[in-house]
Structures are given as structure tokens and as C-alpha cells.
Symmetry: C2
């Protein structure tokens, strides 16, 4: 249903210059998407790892607000999952670290990466990196929600900016573990709303919740919105894949779902316009599955994962991460999604 | 260090009449504590389970806001952990359900249980019960934080009351999983604060965090406050065991800690008066360990677990749950805690 731009992948790791030459870029993916100064702006998640030396394992660490390299004896760690170095006591270090870089486009196909224009992790709760930004334009400013990852867990944090040059820190808005936070682009009934995804739970599953706020920094009245569907493509975990889009029928939410094989697809649901905690429609099947070679093989196989899109008339342009390595693009008619939405 | 009242346990399961005769009371424990109408008031967690029939397993379920009994074939479930009935697909039902009952005392030793004066679970996010209330008297009302447990996870919820007869619902204030929420009894620097304990995390541990609010229902600026201490009595999980107490040196927090054997003890730490996210002292050793027979053997062995206390002059009176079955009481001089606090 989603038409892929034939130029995909649009942005590859080799298009990014790392913030420090001792690192190499291993992935550029899961961008926040908005329009800024008449252009399409991507705030891209860039994953870097230290260049490695034979026999050693070098991992990134945040020290006094700066990203440093820690070199370990490779024999002391289990590296069978390439994302982690696991010590004998079970404690884990991440082998890579993510930060954000801006890219701009006039045509939506060709992007100019501005490797200098970046947001680096800078505080204790970001010590393992910052991930998966989502951007909401609201009241004249851009609000960026993202995952702040550290030994203390995965929190949801918020920054705002007018220009993607200067950023104002607005703190950690949700305690660990939480991911996939997307703020609605307007108040509803006098309140701000956001979708979020508590990630770990003794009884619960990684599913989509909603919270409300008067001021965007403090959130309450958490309610469960949408669940996984056992045995389905979205049977194990789901999360919002971008900012809800106001359509005549309500709020259209593109979401990602993963199954037991960790294949990530995109689907959509529809929330009531006035009571956005009520799901009034949902697609049975994905609107997008991993199909292109770059969506099937990369850093983490069989993943299409979006953090945002742009509405242009009757069309939704989606810029999405493929296999945690590339950024691809495509577009879909909103009415085509609405037609397969089961009410 | 804590002097136990010789009358302990002060309240036992047989002192409670269940809200419905088809149930039996299996535990009364972990009470919220406050003063009301010149008396000491306990808001007690009461755990009930359906009376059982041979060969069947009856479990409590919430249906249309009412507690009903579901009867299952015992052969289909694994009941080796008495708290759960585990189906073959791994899904779990709780064998008991908790709600809250008021007890009042004039002398702090003899309590009159008012089994009719109770709070029952009533909504979807409370379908497995409500647990471990903590009470903060603030701005002329009593604020009750508690765990709301359901298939969606363990949330922190808030109610307020003037009289422990009529309650105002203030919603779920923290998404799953979170427990051990305690609101500070006054504003600090113009903001409300609460301690909380995210319970599950991919990287983090069950440790104590703080959040701030302008209105008590919406919370933000989450920060990590105090961690576990590996190999120690508080090496696996910790949580606030009551409302912070203003002392000349700062905020005194009694907390519970568990080790790898699931032995629960009480300790204390001290927070800065003006910056309550900063720990400025902590006891090395517990101020209380399970010692009495009723603290060692009951429903869950070797547990002392408090949700609150009463300050009377230079003394802290603690009413605490023992082995998830009884309520006991004791008292300690605040200066005795402060003397063993490592600064």
C-alpha cells in the first residue's frame, strides 16, 4: 500500500560524518520528521561505535557529560548479541551509542545531511544514548520526545526548539521503562495528550497508553489505549510510529508492531476525535512490511520502523528506519489507509 | 532499634469480616497510616480469596466493576506459587485480591476495625486489586496513593478524601510498572514532590525515584534518587515505606529493602531539605529486621513492610505489615535513627 521512493535507501551510514573521528557510524535510522523553514527536516538517530582494535573491545561511555571510549579485554565479555557486551556478573554495556543529526530536503527525496547540527547525549539518564525522536509542532515550537537510555532504564525525555539549533531541556517526562512517546499536535478539550508505551511489566505487555497534561512537562491520567493481538503481526509489542494525524474521522495513528520473530511492520489505528483514548478503527493487516533488501538485511533484520511523517494534501509521506541501519522513504494516500481500517 | 509493642500482632485476618461471605480473609497488612478526628487511622490492605471447593480453583475477578468469582478446573493450572494460578499458555491469574479497610485507635495499640468502611477495586486498571496505600495529609485533605494491579500492569493511582468515607478519584498518576509512591506532606520550592519506584526495567533496577508536580495529578521531571546496594540487605529492590518526615536535618525517609532471599527489612535515608532529590545520609544496617515469629512465618516469610507512620513528639510510631498476613506496631526515637545515619 505504501509506494517506496525508488531512490531508497535515501540516507546510509556512509552519508554521516561521526561527531568524533575515533568513532564509526553503523546506522542512521528512525528519524523524527517535521517541516521547518519550508523544507522537510529529519532528526535522524545516528548510531556510532568506537573503531575497534584486535583482541580488545571498545565501548562508548558518557563521562562528565562527554562521550568517551572505554577499552575492555574482549575475553571477559560475551558479545554474541552484537548490541551488548555482557560481563560475567550479567551486567551489560551497549556496544554502540545513538545521538541525533539533522538532515534537510526540498524535494523530499534528496537530503542534505548537516553532521555538525546534532544533539549529543549529555546527562546521566542519557549515558547509553538517545534514541527514536518524534517531533510535534505545537504553539509555535517543535517538541521532541525521545528515549533516554542509561543504566537506570529507558525513560522518555522532552526538549523543545524553535530552529533545531538551540534546544531547551524539559526533563524526563516518563519514568523507566517507556518508549515511543508522541505528543498530539493540538489540545483536545483543553488538554495536551500524548501516546506512550510502557515497555516492561510484570503483568502487562508493551502496549500503547495515553496521558494528559496542562503544561507538557507534567503528565497524568494514564489510560490503556491499544493492545497487541496474539499470533498476529502485532502480537508481541506495539508503539506509536509518529505523531497522530487529524483526519475528518478522528486521529489517525501509524504504529509499529512486532511479532515473536521480531519482524517489525507498520499498521494504523483511528482514535476518536474528542476522546482520543478510544480506538474506533484498526487495520487488520500491516500497511507496510519489510520487503526491500535494505528492509530485510542490515543491522537488525526485517524491520521497518517509523517515528514520523509529513502530510502533504491527501498523502502521507513516511520516512522510516530500515533494519536499524538505513533511512528510506515512501508515501501512501490517507484514504487508502482509511479504506482498510476496520471500524 | 525499633521497640515492638508487646501486643503485636495488633490486627490479624480473623479480626476482619470480608466484604462478601463467599470470601475468606487471608491477610491484613501494609496499612497506610494517618491521624484523623484525633485518632490513629489505618487504611489496611486486606487480601481475600474465594472459599475453595475440592478439585476446583476459584479465583476473584473484577467484572463490570464488581468482584466476582471465577471457578476453574484445578488440573488446568499450575498453583505451585500460591499467589498465582498459571495457565498452560503462561498467563497468570491472582488467587487473591486486595482492598482497603479502615481501623481506628485512640491509644495506638487497640484498633477498632470498621469492616464496612472500605475501598473496593472498581475499574479495569484495578481488576487484580488495590494494594499498599500511603496517606499524605496536605492542604486540608488526605491524599492516598496506591498500587492498581491488573492485566495491564501495576500502576500508581491517587484518591483524596476529607473523612475516609467519601473518596475522589484522581486517576492513574504513573504508568506501569510502578509501586511505593509517597507524596511529600508540603510543597518544596513551590512544587509538590513524590517518591516512586519503577518496578520493572530492561537496564534499570527497582530503585527510588522522585517526580514533581504543580497540581498533584500530573507529574514530571523524574529523577533517580537512591539505588540498591549489591550484596547488602537492600541489594535487590528498595521502595519508600512511608511519607517523608521533615526533621531539622532534611527529609527522613523510612524505606524497605529486599535481598536475594526476598527478606524485607526497613532502613532509612535522609534527603536534602530544599533539594529532595539529593540523598545526604543513609543507614548502613536495617533499623528493623524480621524477628518476631509473626514477622518470620505467615503468608510470605521474613517480611516487615511499612507504608507509613505517625510522628508523636520525638518518636516515630510505625504500623507495618508482617509476612503479608498481620499488622504489627512499634516505635523508635527519631534521634536513634539519625545517630546511625551515615552522612
Amino acid at each position: 500500500m505504501v509506494y517506496r521512493y525508488s531512490e531508497s535507501p535515501l540516507i546510509c551510514p556512509e552519508d554521516i560524518r561521526p561527531f568524533d573521528d575515533r568513532f564509526e557510524v553503523i546506522g542512521v535510522f528512525n528519524p523524527g520528521v517535521t517541516e521547518c523553514e519550508g523544507k522537510i527536516l529529519l532528526l535522524m538517530r545516528v548510531a556510532v561505535r568506537p573503531k575497534q582494535r584486535e583482541g580488545y573491545l571498545s565501548v562508548p561511555v558518557l563521562h562528565d557529560g562527554k562521550i568517551e571510549i572505554m577499552t575492555l579485554d574482549k575475553a571477559d565479555y560475551d558479545c554474541s548479541d552484537s548490541r551488548f557486551a555482557v560481563a560475567q556478573d550479567g551486567s551489560r554495556l551497549l556496544t554502540s551509542m545513538s545521538y541525533f543529526v539533522v538532515a534537510l530536503s526540498e524535494d523530499g527525496i534528496t537530503f542534505r545531511v548537516d553532521s555538525e547540527r546534532c544533539i549529543l547525549p549529555s546527562e546521566d539518564l542519557e549515558a547509553y544514548g538517545i534514541e527514536d525522536p518524534r517531533i510535534t509542532y505545537l504553539d509555535g515550537q517543535y517538541y521532541i520526545t525521545y528515549s533516554a537510555v542509561s543504566e537506570y532504564g529507558i525513560c522518555a525525555a522532552l526538549k523543545r526548539t524553535r530552529d533545531f539549533k538551540m534546544y531547551e531541556r524539559m526533563g524526563v517526562i516518563l519514568h523507566p521503562d517507556n518508549k515511543d512517546v508522541a505528543i498530539f499536535p493540538e489540545k483536545i478539550g483543553g488538554k495536551y495528550y500524548m501516546l506512550h508505551r510502557p515497555s516492561t511489566s510484570e503483568f502487562g505487555k508493551p502496549e500503547i497508553w495515553i496521558a494528559e497534561s496542562d503544561n507538557l512537562t507534567q503528565w497524568g491520567n494514564h489510560r490503556h489505549v491499544a493492545g497487541v493481538r496474539s499470533q498476529s503481526w502485532d502480537g508481541v509489542r506495539i508503539g506509536s510510529s509518529g505523531v497522530p494525524i487529524r483526519v475528518p474521522e478522528g486521529w489517525l495513528v501509524v504504529y509499529h508492531g512486532a511479532d515473536a520473530d521480531d519482524t517489525y511492520c507498520l499498521g494504523a489505528f483511528l482514535l476518536d476525535a474528542e476522546e482520543p483514548w478510544r480506538v474506533i478503527g484498526r487495520t487488520d493487516e500491516p500497511i507496510m512490511r519489510p520487503e526491500l533488501p535494505c528492509e530485510r538485511e542490515g543491522f537488525f533484520s526485517n524491520v521497518v520502523f517509523a517515528c514520523g511523517g509529513i502530510v502533504a494534501g491527501d498523502t502521507l509521506r513516511i520516512y522510516y528506519g530500515a533494519t536499524d541501519k538505513f533511512i528510506c522513504g515512501g508515501e501512501v494516500k490517507i484514504k487508502d489507509i482509511m479504506e482498510v481500517m476496520k471500524r
